[in-house]
Symmetry: C2
Subunit: 370 residues, 2 copies
């Protein structure tokens, strides 16, 4: 079986990310390698995942005692209450720390189940099988787990590395276009912050990625994971460097919160919008050149993605985002800690560009005039 493998290693943990098409069959061998003491496996599966995958998993894993737990993954449902419910389920099935929990679903499922695994008996083996492009290229990498609270997204959680991530592109065949765009937003972000060559590749191949051409899709997933892994590896607990992954996300989160996480604007669309807004800000502050912005906008135009920022670029709208910029958990005071673009492939370092809310209010006028 053909697959790509990226190895992660920090001082306490190591794990692999495996990427390929139709690769669920390797799961038993991998479990034998990474958690050989497993007897019981709880699979927590998003109800949206097509039934046939559950069937495949139950056949492949039949030598273990399996517990299938299904749930309706949603931001609303991604709460400490749901996490608590699953912890109780695992306790009642009497799983031990050497057993295994597998998440099958998108980013919400992975975040929630990772959190469950991290607090169950202070940590049980955890395999993540991300089933959306977004989860495969971003959420499944880096060990951030968490749930939402009344005060915002992912404000309760932990840093907990999985035992294995298995990204199978066969899950993506039935994924709605809107969700492909979600994942693409993070792929593009990774290229912009760290890899000009990959960005140039995306200039040519974006359409192929979005239409799921296997070769290009797997290449983009792999590249995206590599970039993220490299950043995370140098700053597991997000003390500093890791924050560059937040590029475009300060505005994106504000857009999502302001819209009450409405389904009309997906996370990916908000990120695509955020990337443009923060690149404009970078240009206004003379940190990047106009041409960097133009190159990015061209990719959007060429691939029908410009709708993502057109609506959110009006001056009025930008001003209205400002109150929602405040509550971001990465901010340590009243100023907003922006990651700005120096040039494609390179951002400013975290904590170097704190901008006051008043200044943003002032810039919002210019930001709307591009």
């Amino acid at each position: 079986m053909k697959y790509r493998e990226i190895r992660y290693k920090d001082t306490l943990n190591k794990y692999s990310v495996i990427i390929g098409d139709n690769i669920l069959s390797i799961l038993p061998k991998k479990i034998e390698e990474c958690c050989p003491k497993t007897q019981k496996i709880a699979l927590i599966i998003d109800g949206k995942v097509p039934k046939k995958f559950k069937k495949i998993l139950s056949i492949k894993l039949k030598k273990y005692k399996l517990f299938f737990l299904s749930f309706k993954a949603s931001e609303k449902n991604k709460t400490i209450k749901t996490a608590s419910f699953f912890v109780s389920k695992l306790l009642s099935k009497n799983l031990n720390r050497s057993d295994l929990v597998i998440a099958v679903g998108g980013g919400i499922t992975g975040d929630l189940v990772g959190f469950v695994a991290s607090i169950f008996k202070r940590g049980i083996n955890f395999i993540n099988i991300p089933t959306t492009l977004l989860a495969q290229v971003d959420a499944s990498i880096g060990g951030k787990s968490g749930v939402n609270s009344f005060a915002g997204k992912n404000l309760i959680g932990s840093f907990y590395q999985p035992t294995l991530v298995l990204s199978d592109s066969s899950f993506l065949k039935t994924l709605p276009k809107k969700e492909m765009i979600c994942g693409y937003a993070e792929i593009l972000k990774h290229a912009i912050i760290k890899d000009k060559k990959f960005f140039n590749w995306l200039k040519i191949n974006t359409q192929k990625v979005l239409s799921r051409e296997p070769k290009e899709l797997i290449y983009a997933i792999n590249k995206s994971c590599e970039i993220k892994m490299d950043v995370v590896n140098r700053d597991v607990n997000e003390k500093s460097l890791r924050m560059i992954l937040n590029f475009g996300h300060t505005f994106a989160h504000a857009i999502e919160v302001k819209n009450n996480y409405s389904a009309n604007i997906t996370h990916g669309e908000a990120v695509l919008s955020g990337i443009i807004l923060v690149t404009r800000l970078s240009h206004i502050l003379k940190i990047c050149k106009k041409n960097d912005l133009t190159e990015i906008v061209e990719i959007y135009n060429k691939n029908n993605l410009s709708y993502t920022f057109k609506n959110f670029s009006k001056r009025n709208f930008i001003s209205k985002l400002i109150p929602f910029l405040e509550n971001d958990k990465k901010n340590n005071d009243d100023k907003i800690n922006f990651i700005l673009l120096k040039k494609i492939g390179k951002t400013t370092m975290p904590n170097k560009n704190k901008i006051s809310l008043n200044a943003i209010k002032k810039y919002s006028k210019i930001m709307a005039q591009y």
Copy 2:
């Protein structure tokens, strides 16, 4: 100001444990050192802690924005619901990851607040000020945090190292005798598993420790922390070695669960009982000599501690414990993973002595005949 300092360092974290009498005044200087970005501090305090300490803390820390949160610490109250409540409190006060949470109370408070700190925005600075002997010599060291569930104690939690532990023996002046014994049980356990010389010291000085002679008390706290720290340091996430700290605790937990965590039998009394039971088992299995058991029993007799195991050493009682041995989270199958005594100062290694429930049933007759 005179105090002892033990430094902990693993690959990701470092912190100090500071031990002394009347040392709360050094807190501001230490906060400046270990979390200099702190602006807001939430103090979560067990209602049983004498009011004067709250007053002292509010004076010493007046340069920070303080939030005092009081609660009735109890095993019943040590739940994910309470943890969730405090996380919400911190969110509503808008604390950030670079702010600080301080626990002031016994082991329950420290475990709960440590868990809160670990999941709040994926980890906020956490200072533990343990106010009971048990918490000072044991619970505050090693980064285990957690809450109870319907299925047992501490089954939900995380490994999370504090930023600082400040053990002030002035808290112990008003501590009930029963609670002094609780802490003493772990001090004795640490001596038995790792340090014959310290055990010999305890032979002579136990009475002075229990009656709070400052010099002996601080010596015993310090020694106990050093032993635990050394073990933890070599196995932070409890993969193996760390389990030797569980010596005597498999029986102790069973005694507590069987008695529904009744206040009639404190954790320390259950541990003192567990130490005797498991040492008898070690002798039956010819792993330690009769004399090791005798030496331990002598310390109990000399210091009026024999009542702790007299009631729980009847054959009937031991058999009744067996069903409650099963659910321990450290067990990986139907056999019980015991840490046994080789000689005073040395135990068997974890996972070397798995004993079936049937065998224990058989031995329980002999265990009751000493």
